[in-house]
């Protein structure tokens, strides 16, 4: 644990307690409170009845009960939104990562005519404000019969993940030593076997980064399901949230529970994959 070593180092040479150290620690602590306090209020209020929240918005729950979660899950359709979000997000991430890994392998390992152009073509998608293409996309999906269809949304989502995934994975494939491929080829392995058996396992950390990094914005996306899905039984959590806030507007306890249900998977993912997320966010700066 890095925290433990930090502390032990501290005890060897105590830092001078100056105005600057007090000030900087103070700022960090105050901002941490600004971030955590609203989240804390949300979680504690899920366990308090609404009329108590109205009386005193910030207070600890007197009893622990999870009724608000049950109401949100059953009566406010969160069970359905949650499953939709999970299926759509996971399917999109799997599809997007798979096709990206295949393309990135060839683009990263071989220098064939047109390869550089293809890489640039994929990477160009990183900078495009894709939402502005919603009207043609809507008409395209409409002509394919994929409006109000979860598969349509999955195809679109998988496509949006490709530029970033190809960019990251290709740079990882490029760094793998050439000898590995040669050894496998001498053993008579086909290209696909070399890819699947030799190379893919070696870029597993990059695959994790790419997958986590697609998961977060897709799970959170509001715009595409709002436009592309009509029936409420296909809605994902962010769109379902708008209906929920209209229907349950006076039931604050349940509203807070809905916020927690939508966010919990991401918090768990973040705490278990902090490094992958930070690598993804700073890709291109750290070399």
């Amino acid at each position: 644990m890095s925290t433990a070593t930090d502390t032990s180092k501290r005890s060897f040479r105590l830092p001078k307690i100056t105005f600057a150290t007090v000030g900087s620690n103070g700022m960090l602590i105050i901002y941490a409170i600004i971030v955590l306090l609203p989240l804390f209020i949300v979680v504690t209020n899920t366990m308090r009845p609404t009329r108590e929240i109205y009386k005193e918005p910030v207070a600890l729950p007197e009893t622990i009960n999870f009724d608000s979660y049950v109401i949100a899950w059953n009566e406010a359709d969160f069970s359905r939104y949650f499953v939709n979000s999970l299926v759509i997000t996971v399917a999109s991430v799997v599809l997007g990562t798979s096709v990206s890994a295949l393309a990135a392998y060839i683009l990263g390992r071989y220098n064939f005519p047109g390869g550089r152009f293809l890489s640039a073509f994929f990477v160009a998608g990183l900078t495009l404000p894709f939402r502005l293409a919603i009207v043609p996309l809507f008409l395209l999906l409409n002509s394919l019969g994929l409006i109000d269809n979860r598969i349509g949304l999955i195809l679109v989502y998988a496509a949006t993940g490709i530029p970033f995934s190809v960019f990251i994975l290709a740079s990882f494939f490029r760094q793998l030593p050439q000898e590995l491929t040669e050894a496998a080829r001498i053993d008579g392995a086909q290209e696909f076997t070399i890819f699947g058996r030799v190379m893919l396992p070696l870029v597993r950390p990059a695959l994790a980064t790419v997958a986590v990094f697609q998961f977060v914005p897709l799970w959170n996306d509001f715009f595409f399901p709002l436009v592309l899905l009509r029936s409420t039984d296909k809605w994902t959590l962010p769109v379902g949230m708008t209906r929920f806030f209209g229907e349950f507007q006076t039931d604050w306890s349940t509203l807070f529970a809905g916020l927690v249900i939508t966010t919990l998977p991401l918090i768990i993912l973040f705490l278990s994959a902090t490094e992958q997320i930070i690598t993804g966010l700073t890709a291109g700066i750290r070399k």
């Binding site: 941490a32 490029r174 760094q175 959170n220 708008t242 939508t262 918090i267």
Partner: protein, 320 residues
């Protein structure tokens, strides 16, 4: 939302060995590349190109009609209420960007600097400050809508409890405070992002430079101002461009915090909302108009992004 690609310094060396590598056959290459290429081209590139074409056509519902030249563009600036909503929303986006740059970016830089050295609780602070960025903008918006509720919201309630009752006000209901509130909530959500980018930038600066300056008797502030800040110029450029693109695409957070029409009285209306309403809550010719608006927004975002990047690159050259 992701950082821009940077040149790989090792490509040159590697290209030589790849020449000798056994090249797979064309069908094999196609098999590997085509799934991604088709998906990406059909669902991303093709619609973007089509938006350009659609902007010059008249639409009747879902049916494309005649070529009308720049008529859709003209309509954007003459037809009521678009002619009033568009410039107002544009102004809000500019304010949104300036507000975000001053608050979010300076806080991000400050925190990155404070967390640069190994210190107690570094991981904790970094994790906590990045966390809100992962929450859906929709959730962040609704969360703060409840927090800022004029009657039962914890914010006003706390202000009253500590004797600052005069400050308790309908933050999102008053046209004067609504947009600044949206900007602050957005900054609350995003501050970890510039912090991480600046952190990575600071980690890339060699410690020898700092040590040399310190031996010469430079203070922490002077090291920051004259060594670190100039070397961070490229990162500041990336942060500026990404913040700009993000702000001009703002949609979900305004929708959930204020509403689809940018209430009160359009005080929080932004281009993202205007674009959505034009496309999906407009008249029969909505799709042509929305495509024209998409083209204008794309051109604007693209031109400014390239301009800002060029300006920062020049600044970088001047500083070195």
């Amino acid at each position: 939302m992701t950082a821009l690609p940077s040149a790989n310094p090792n490509t040159k060396r590697r290209r030589t060995w790849r020449k000798n590598a056994m090249m797979p056959s064309v069908p094999t290459i196609a098999l590997f590349v085509l799934p991604a290429l088709i998906l990406y081209t059909v669902f991303m590139v093709y619609p973007l190109v089509q938006a350009l074409i659609f902007s010059t056509f008249e639409f009747n519902g879902l049916v494309r009609g005649d070529f009308v030249g720049l008529h859709n563009f003209q309509e954007l600036f003459t037809r009521y209420p678009l002619n009033e909503q568009l410039p107002r929303a544009f102004g809000h986006n500019v304010a949104f960007f300036i507000g975000t740059m001053t608050i979010q970016t300076s806080l991000g830089l400050l925190f990155a600097r404070l967390l640069h050295r190994p210190r107690f609780g570094k991981r904790f602070f970094r994790t906590v400050f990045t966390m809100p960025y992962l929450i859906s903008p929709i959730v962040v918006g609704y969360l703060w809508r409840l927090m800022l509720n004029p009657l039962f919201g914890p914010v006003n309630n706390t202000l009253r409890d500590v004797g600052l009752g005069d400050l308790a006000k309908p933050w999102l209901g008053d046209p004067a405070t609504a947009l600044p509130t949206v900007i602050l909530v957005n900054a609350w959500m995003w501050v970890g992002f510039p912090m991480l980018l600046f952190g990575a930038g600071l980690a890339g600066i060699e410690d020898d430079l700092r040590e040399a300056a310190r031996i010469d008797g430079a203070s922490d502030w002077r090291i920051f101002r004259h060594i670190e800040l100039p070397l961070l110029t490229p990162v500041i450029g990336i942060v500026t461009v990404l913040t700009f693109i993000g702000n001009f695409n703002a949609f979900g957070i305004v929708w959930s915090l204020a509403g689809a029409d940018g209430p009160p009285a359009g005080a929080t209306d932004v281009l993202g909302l205007v674009f959505y309403r034009t496309a999906f809550a407009g008249g029969p010719d909505a799709f042509g108009l929305a495509s024209a608006l998409a083209v204008l927004m794309f051109l604007f975002i693209f031109t400014v992004s390239v301009g800002v990047q060029t300006w920062f690159r020049r600044l970088e050259d001047k500083l070195q």
